[in-house]
């Protein structure tokens, strides 16, 4: 009943829920990580059939699709870069407004910068 595509759609919307409902900045970055994992899982499992083998060591018959795999390796590296940029932004905002909460930071910003 559960296959890769259905699981990845559910994981993606769990990440969306984390971004909307949680007001902590670190939680938002973690939710972006979950959404990214869901997309990788979707693209890897979209053309997969049972009994396929890995496309290594010179196999040519009945191998899994190598194109999404090559793209997803780069996506993982870019994912850790996105995490690092997000965390550095978090540190800057934290030191300017002294809070980890989106609503509170926006409130303090409207009040006129630092406190």
């Amino acid at each position: 009943m559960l296959n890769g595509e259905i699981t990845s759609i559910i994981l993606f919307f769990i990440g969306v829920y984390g971004i909307i409902a949680r007001r902590n900045m670190v939680k938002s970055i973690i939710s972006i990580g979950i959404m990214e994992m869901a997309i990788i899982l979707f693209l890897l499992s979209v053309n997969f059939e049972k009994g396929m083998r890995a496309p290594v060591s010179g196999l040519t018959s009945n191998i899994s699709d190598p194109l999404p795999q090559a793209l997803m390796i780069t996506a993982i590296i870019i994912g850790v870069a996105v995490n690092a940029i997000g965390l550095s932004l978090f540190i800057n905002i934290y030191h300017k407004y002294g809070t980890t909460n989106w609503t509170k930071a926006a409130y303090k910003r409207r009040q006129g910068g630092r406190k």
Binding site: T7, L41, I73, I76, N83
Partner: protein, 185 residues
């Protein structure tokens, strides 16, 4: 086997989003990454599984933990009563006596330093506004004359430790005639 892995992926994702403690959420994210890596091996993609295990599970977890280790804050909200309420209800005349809160603030700060937390104290006299607009304080101290009320959360283990710490060191405060009540919500 694959169905079991997919089910555990969904469960781990829900637990990661729903956890209150940030360090626990980061550790759950690392576990989610590891299960994802096993799933990629089952989907016949060993290269992606290797990259996910090295980068997603280890490197980004270390980055999160390095950031979280440096920034642990203990939010304290210190609430003064409004002047007119005081004049109605108590027989204290001198306004300066309300500034006499040094002892309890020092106690909270000492607790924070002993646990390597960073105390972040906010003073206010409009408690209704503060609590409804900018919530998420770890502890709220309310002063009325010589009496202090402390409100904290039951699920926050630091608050429970702080209660024990204050009970141990209460003799300094009682010298001045102050009394403390602790309420866990």
């Amino acid at each position: 086997m694959l169905e079991f892995l997919f089910l555990s992926l969904i469960i781990f994702a829900i637990v990661t989003v729903q956890t209150k403690n940030l360090i626990r959420a980061v550790i759950y994210l690392g576990g989610l990454s590891l299960i994802c890596s096993v799933t990629y091996i089952m989907l016949a993609a060993p290269d992606v599984a290797l990259a996910e295990a090295v980068i997603g599970c280890t490197l980004s977890t270390i980055l999160f933990l390095v950031v979280l280790r440096k920034y642990r804050v203990f939010n304290v909200c210190f609430v003064y009563p409004q002047i007119n309420i005081i004049q109605e209800n108590t027989n204290v005349q001198d306004d300066m006596s309300y500034m006499d809160n040094a002892n309890i603030i020092k106690l909270v700060e000492n607790y924070c330093y002993s646990k390597e937390l960073e105390p972040h104290i906010i003073y206010s006299n409009r408690y209704e506004d503060l609590i409804t607009i900018s919530y998420q304080y770890d502890i709220i101290v309310h002063q009325l004359g010589k009496q202090f009320w402390l409100y904290g959360r039951k699920r926050n283990y630091q608050v429970i430790n702080l209660k024990a710490y204050i009970k141990k060191n209460i003799s300094d405060l009682e010298k001045d005639g102050a009394s403390i009540e602790f309420e866990l919500l």
